[in-house]
């Protein structure tokens, strides 16, 4: 029997009155929840941030649905309580709880935590602590739940390694239920925790960090790997899992409809997976290869069913590159026809310069004319070739012209500062590009309305990511970043153009986390003990705390973020493989230096990244991409 904490939680919320913000975060029984109170085996899926940020997360939704499909297994969701609630819970002796049955997280058989971005690391510790689960795998006993992790950060798992019993690399649809079944069987047989972990380490796509010793940097370079397995029968390289069934599986799946107001509160239909445009800084583009599309019929049917079951008034066609879908126009036309006169809108997560025509604009926006966003990322053609962002100035200007002629008045352009090989000319190039885009917008806008034009450039510091061709490149120092942004500001002559700049503090910690080895885990714990959590919330983040934590743990903060290596350097994540050959990363890095581009394999030929051959997978399109 699971404990129901709701009476205590309800009383806490009632008694606290308005001193606890948004009590709706802690209610459950949302529409569309799956309840399996009789299931003997219970799994809790955690998003390591507050309800508002986590509820819309697709990994949580997909994995809970997959586990709930298993007979006798229940999956529930959990989020990190905000500080006001966490304090009140600690004072009242209430541990972190799940949504569906409001049960203590520590009572579940297994807990899965998705790791969406580097700044969530301290929230993992916050949640484990509130749940009363020992932070490190070495301190957990037979009575503690199995703590599992997955998601993008597992691409360099080392800074998280000591906090997880088991990590999963790649797509979790199959491997998660597989591991949970194994766990259930072994629990029934009374297998010890140590033996369970050993058995799980043999499952493809699974990394059990405690079963590997970490060697010194010098030794790692010699051996070609930072880890040494403690047993002969566990792999030395862990390869990611791919869910082969994605393209043919039903695009419809149950979705919880929250009561709380969220930023992106709508029905999500995942229409394709993967993007092989091959931007050299982009981790997601490397992670979800190869590209797999679902069919138009599947998608349209799923949107209709999903809307009628949830009552949402918006459906978003999600993926890394929605407009690349070979049937996207057909899909949008069919959906628009179906939902005419119901106030339902169809949206796509981001617009692409090179495939964004006026037709597409009309199809996604309906009557609305919100802001448009485009991401040229770099200011000159040379640098865009370096990063393999295959868009030209003309693409940008055509898209801007088309959209302003069609009635748009606001446009935001995204850029990165500090990309490899960047010079001052590239920075000035951003100013020039934005100003000329403004001129194009002005020409396309009737004279009387030109005062309404808003054009802005949003800049962020480049963060080198593990498992990308730029993984060896250091981040530029923050002082240099500030010099460059000032150069940009001074280069912009038009008063009507806004330059937004994200302070580099957060990006520095991201780079350190993205590139660090297992020693960084101590830094994460030290930072959390200093009060760091909800680091993705600017007002809660403190760069000093992170630097102090590094100093205490003997980790070189600047060096970890900023050092540049040759491409034959073995990084701390070399044992984790996306199926992409190191040779491919090296070749791409070399082509970057030569400012030579590599085409998208879904439009042209295979460029031999290695995924399809290595993992026995293949591109699955529904038609010819054009």
């Amino acid at each position: 029997m699971t404990t129901d904490l709701w009476p205590q939680v309800e009383r806490l919320l009632r008694e606290s009155g308005r001193s606890i913000e948004r009590p709706t975060r802690y209610l459950n029984h949302e529409w569309g929840c799956t309840y399996k109170p009789d299931a003997a085996y219970r799994f809790c899926m955690v998003y390591p941030d507050t309800y508002e940020l986590g509820q819309a997360n697709q990994a949580v939704r997909i994995l809970c649905n997959r586990v709930n499909l298993v007979e006798g297994m229940a999956a529930e969701r959990a989020y990190v309580p905000a500080d006001d609630m966490a304090d009140a819970m600690r004072a009242a002796g209430i541990p972190a709880f799940s949504m569906e049955s409001c049960a203590p997280i520590a009572e579940f058989d297994a807990v899965g935590i998705t790791l969406p971005h580097e700044l969530a690391a301290t929230n993992v510790l916050q949640l484990l602590d509130l749940a009363g689960i020992p932070l490190r795998t070495e301190n957990r006993t037979e009575n503690d739940p199995l703590v599992m992790g997955g998601g993008p950060c597992v691409l360099n798992a080392e800074p998280y390694a000591p906090f997880f019993d088991v990590l999963m690399l790649g797509e979790g649809e199959e491997v998660l239920p597989e591991l949970l079944r194994m766990h259930r069987d072994m629990l029934a047989q009374g297998v010890s925790r140590a033996d369970m972990l050993h058995a799980m380490a043999k499952v493809p796509g699974v990394y059990v960090p405690s079963l590997y010793d970490v060697v010194s940097e010098a030794e790692a370079q010699e051996r070609g790997s930072w880890i040494v397995p403690k047993y002969d029968d566990i792999p030395t390289v862990i390869e990611k899992r791919i869910w082969e069934g994605f393209a043919t599986s039903d695009a419809y799946e149950p979705q919880v409809v929250p009561y709380a107001e969220l930023i992106h509160d709508r029905l999500n239909i995942e229409i394709l997976r993967g993007c092989t445009r091959g931007c050299r800084f982009c981790q997601a583009g490397m992670m979800y290869r190869p590209v797999r599309e679902r069919s138009a019929d599947n998608i349209v049917a799923a949107a209709i069913r999903g809307l009628s079951e949830t009552g949402y008034d918006e459906v978003s066609l999600t993926s890394l590159s929605t407009t690349d879908h070979s049937q996207i126009e057909d899909i949008l036309r069919r959906l628009n026809r179906t939902f005419e006169g119901t106030g339902i809108s169809v949206s796509i997560p981001s617009q692409r310069l090179d495939s964004f025509g006026v037709d597409m604009a009309e199809l996604v926006a309906g009557g609305k004319r919100g802001g448009l966003t485009f991401a040229p990322e770099a200011g000159t053609q040379r640098l865009r070739d370096v990063i393999n962002k295959n868009v030209t100035e003309e693409d940008l200007f055509t898209a801007v012209r088309a959209s302003f002629e069609a009635g748009w008045r606001r446009c935001k352009l995204y850029f990165m500062i500090g990309l490899p090989t960047e010079t001052d000319d590239d920075i000035k190039g951003i100013a020039s590009l934005v100003q000329r885009a403004y001129d194009v917008a002005k020409q396309a806008t009737p004279e009387g309305q030109r005062g309404n034009i808003r054009m802005s450039a949003s800049c962020a510091l480049f963060v080198p990511k593990a498992q990308t061709p730029f993984q060896w490149d250091g981040q530029i120092a923050p002082e240099e970043a500030i010099r460059r942004i000032n150069l940009l500001r001074n280069s912009v002559k038009y008063r009507a153009i806004d330059i937004h700049w994200h302070a580099p503090d957060v990006s520095q910690v991201e780079a350190m986390m993205s590139r660090g080895g297992r020693e960084v885990a101590d830094v994460v714990e030290a930072a959390w003990r200093k009060g760091e959590h909800f680091d993705a919330w600017t007002e809660k983040f403190s760069l000093d705390a992170w630097k102090e934590a590094c100093a205490e743990c003997g980790v070189d903060f600047e060096g970890t973020a900023q050092r540049t290596y040759d491409t034959d350097y073995i990084p701390p994540w070399a044992h984790l493989s996306l199926g992409i050959q190191t040779r491919y990363f090296q070749r791409e890095r070399q082509l970057a230096d030569e400012a030579k581009t590599t085409p998208d394999c879904t439009y042209e030929h295979c460029t031999v990244c290695g995924v399809c051959m290595g993992l026995g997978s293949k591109i699955q399109l529904q038609g010819v991409r054009s």
Partner: protein, 220 residues
Amino acid sequence: MMEGEFKIRVTYAMRGRLVMLSHLEVARALERAVRRADLPFAVTQGFSPHMKLAFGAALPVGVGGDHEIFDVTMTEYVDPDEALRRLQDASPYDLMPESVEYITREVKAASVAYPFGTYRAVFDGPVDGLQVPDSITVIRKKKEKQLRPADFLVGALEKNGNEMLFTLEAKPSGSLRPDVLVNAMLDGAEDGLVNTDLGAARSDTRLHVVSLMRIAQRAE
């Protein structure tokens, strides 16, 4: 309401954990229930078309209602029993429609239809010691304001064991929230002071509210 449009008034109960929802959250949840029920709702014209819906007087967070109302404008006539059945199938238990009736254009808008609300507060102990204070300090738009409960209470406040029953009138100039009144009474019982800061620390020997519901609403 245009010619050829029909308006229904839906009465629903809001209870259980969903009394924690804010008015905006309730509004959104009800709109989604109407969509799920697939009623032929009318949509406004213009750039961002939305459902023609109107809601009754708001309830404060933490206060439920046995017979709350909202109005939906429809483009087709649907048998009220059928409409109710569809709404019920599309609603969570704690936000459940209980009746549907057609209303004419002369009927007052849902938000001002019922200025008189009767509330039942249930506590975890006898309420004999609780007194209505002469005056309550509330914060409105960052300014302190004194409200006299006597100006809003209609008839006598009844005490019965662990329960209290009272009726409040919403005035065009403002209203007294039922939860504010109840908390002021609790604070008065505890330390002789009136404190409407709901977050203030309190000793644990005091009475606790178990539930606070608007059990009836009327026009006069």
